[in-house]
Amino acid sequence: MKPLVFTLRSEPVERLDLSALTPARLSDLSSAAIEKLAIGTTQRPLRVGDVFRLRDGDRSVIRFSGGSSRFDRIAMAMESGVIEVDGMVGREAGCGMRGGALTISGAAGDYAASGARGGAIEIGGDCGDFLGAPLVGEMEGINGGVVIVRGRAGHRACDRMRRGLVAVEKGAGEYAGSRMIAGTLVVAGPVGGFPGTMMRRGTIIMPALPEIAPTFLDCGATPLGFTALYATSLAARSPRAARLLRRALRRFGGDTATLGKGELLVPA
C-alpha cells in the first residue's frame, strides 16, 4: 500500500494551515483537486500544488517529505489513518485529534495535541509551550489519547489536561501540568519550577522534585500499583518513561489551593 506523499518544494513563504490534509478530508478528492486546496493563510493563499509535489497513493496513509515550522494544524481533528512528517512542524499539531496516528520526526511548535481526544501522537524532537493545553477561549486541554515527546516540552505543558497520557522524555519547562483537571503526565527529564500549580486532579510523574508550591503536601512513599500498568503500556513506546514508572515513588498531594486531589510523584 503506497502512501499519499507531499514533498516540500521549498520553504513556504507564509504560514500554512494543513488541517485540510487529513485522510478523511482527502478520501474523496482526486489528485488534481487536492493540488488546488488552499492551505496558505494570507489573502491570496498558497495552494497545495504551490508548496508540495504530490505523489498519489492510499489516502489513509499520508506522508510529508520535508517539514517546516510554518506547517500549522497538521492532523487537526484527524479521526483515523496515519500522518507521518519527515521534518518539523509548527503550531497546533494534532490539535483536536480523535484517532489515528501522527508521527513527527522533528520538533513541533506551541499547542501540540491541544484538545486531542484520542489517537497517538509522537514528536521526535522538542515541542513548544502549551503542549496539550487549551487554545485561547477553550476550557479544557488534551482529553484523551497518548502523546510521546522524545525531546523537551516548553512551559505550561498539559495545562488544564483532562484525560489521556502524555510522556515527555527529556524534560519540561515551568508550570508543567498547571490547572490539570485529570490525566497523567510523565516527564522523564528535568522539570521546571512549580509543576501542578492549581491542579485539581491528575498525576505528574518526574525524576526529581523541583521547587513546588507550598500547597502540596508530602504523603510519603507508598506502593502504587497503577504505575506498573503505565510502565507496561509505555514500555515499547517510551522505555525511558517506563523505567521511571517502575521505580518506587513518593507522593505529594495537591494542589490544596484548589480541590487538592492531584499528585506529584517522584522517586522515593
Binding site: 485529570a182 486532579r201 498525576t203 497503577f226 500498568l229
Partner: protein, 305 residues
C-alpha cells in the same frame, strides 16, 4: 441396581447416560497479589461459600494461576470464575464478594477476567469505598480505579465481562468399592479438570459427597439427599448401586462455554480410566433429570477415552 447399559474402559464400567446441564451467566476476575500466596488467598476467600446456586447464590472457583509475567501489573495472579442463574445475580454476587473478600485482602488488585457479550461493574461499583479519594485512570481504552486503603491502594479495573453462554451442571458420579479408592480416582479427575481453561469445580476441593435429588418429603425443602446413590440405603430404597459399590462421589463442573464443560468432563473421565478399576473407581455415571429440564446433555459415551 442401575439397569443402565454400560461399556468398559480399563476395567472401569461407564454408564451409557448423560449429564444434564443448564445455561448460566458467567463472569470472572483476574486477581493479583504481592505473592502467589496472597493472590491465592484473595481468590480462595472470594470463591468460598459458592458451591451451589441453591444455597449460595452463585457457584465460583479458581480457574487457574497466572504467572507474573502474564498479568497486567506484573504480579502473580489467579483467575476466578463465578456463575449464577441470571445476569443480575451474577453481578450482585460478584460485587459483594469483590467488596468483602478481595478489597479486604492485603496487596490485592483486580482486573477483568472474562471477555463477554456484556460488561458488568466491578471497580465502577466498589470505587465508592474511597469516600471521594478514589482516583480514576483510563489507559488503553480501560478504566481503572485507585481506592486508598490502609496498605496503600486497591487497584481495580472498572468492569469485567459477562457471558450468557455459560453452562452449569456438568457432572460425573464416581463410584468405587470404598471411600479410599473412590477418593483416589475422584482426586485424579479433579486434578485433570483443573488444567482445563474456562471450567471450574465449585464444591470443596472440587468434590461433592452429598449429591441431591429434586424435591423432598419435607415441604420446605426443594432438594434432598440422592438416596438412589447412598450405599447405606441400598437395601431399603430404589438404589442405583450395585453390590460392589461402597462409596459415591460427584464432581460438578461449570464452564464459560459448552465446549469447556465437555473438555473438562473428558479430562476427568480420562484420568479415572487411566487409573483403572483396581486402584480407583469401578463405575462412572452422571446425573440427569431425564433430559427434560436442561438443554445441554453431555453423553459419557461421547466423552470417554
Amino acid at each position: 441396581m442401575s439397569g443402565l447399559k454400560s461399556f468398559t474402559r480399563n476395567g472401569v464400567r461407564i454408564d451409557e447416560t448423560f449429564a444434564e446441564a443448564f445455561p448460566m451467566s458467567g463472569t470472572g476476575l483476574l486477581i493479583t497479589g504481592p505473592t502467589r500466596r496472597w493472590a491465592n488467598q484473595a481468590a480462595t476467600t472470594m470463591t468460598g461459600f459458592a458451591t451451589s446456586v441453591i444455597g449460595c447464590g452463585a457457584e465460583a472457583g479458581i480457574d487457574r494461576e497466572i504467572a507474573a509475567n502474564k498479568t497486567p501489573d506484573g504480579r502473580p495472579g489467579v483467575r476466578v470464575l463465578l456463575f449464577a442463574m441470571s445476569e443480575a445475580d451474577c453481578e450482585k454476587q460478584l460485587v459483594n464478594r469483590l467488596g468483602q473478600c478481595v478489597l479486604t485482602c492485603p496487596g490485592s488488585a483486580v482486573f477483568a477476567g472474562v471477555e463477554g457479550e456484556k460488561q458488568i461493574k466491578t471497580g465502577d461499583a466498589i470505587r465508592y469505598f474511597g469516600d471521594g479519594w478514589q482516583i480514576s485512570k483510563r489507559l488503553d481504552g480501560k478504566r481503572y480505579w485507585r481506592v486508598p486503603t490502609m496498605d496503600g491502594e486497591f487497584l481495580c479495573e472498572g468492569t469485567t465481562g459477562l457471558t450468557s453462554q455459560s453452562v452449569g451442571g456438568g457432572n460425573l458420579l464416581i463410584m468405587g468399592a470404598d471411600f479410599a479408592s473412590t477418593m483416589r480416582a475422584t482426586e485424579a479427575a479433579v486434578d485433570a479438570i483443573a488444567r482445563v481453561d474456562g471450567a471450574i469445580t465449585p464444591f470443596p476441593g472440587g468434590i461433592v459427597r452429598s449429591g441431591s435429588k429434586v424435591g423432598s418429603k419435607y415441604k420446605a425443602l426443594f432438594a434432598s439427599t440422592n438416596d438412589a446413590y447412598c450405599p447405606t440405603l441400598r437395601g431399603v430404597t430404589a438404589s442405583a448401586l450395585d453390590p460392589e459399590i461402597g462409596c459415591v462421589l460427584e464432581i460438578v463442573i461449570d464452564g464459560l462455554t459448552y465446549d469447556a464443560v465437555a473438555q473438562a468432563m473428558r479430562a476427568g473421565l480420562a484420568a479415572i480410566v487411566k487409573m483403572g478399576a483396581k486402584r480407583g473407581a469401578r463405575r462412572v455415571g452422571a446425573g440427569n433429570y431425564g433430559g427434560k429440564l436442561g438443554p445441554h446433555h453431555f453423553h459419557l459415551k461421547d466423552l470417554a477415552p
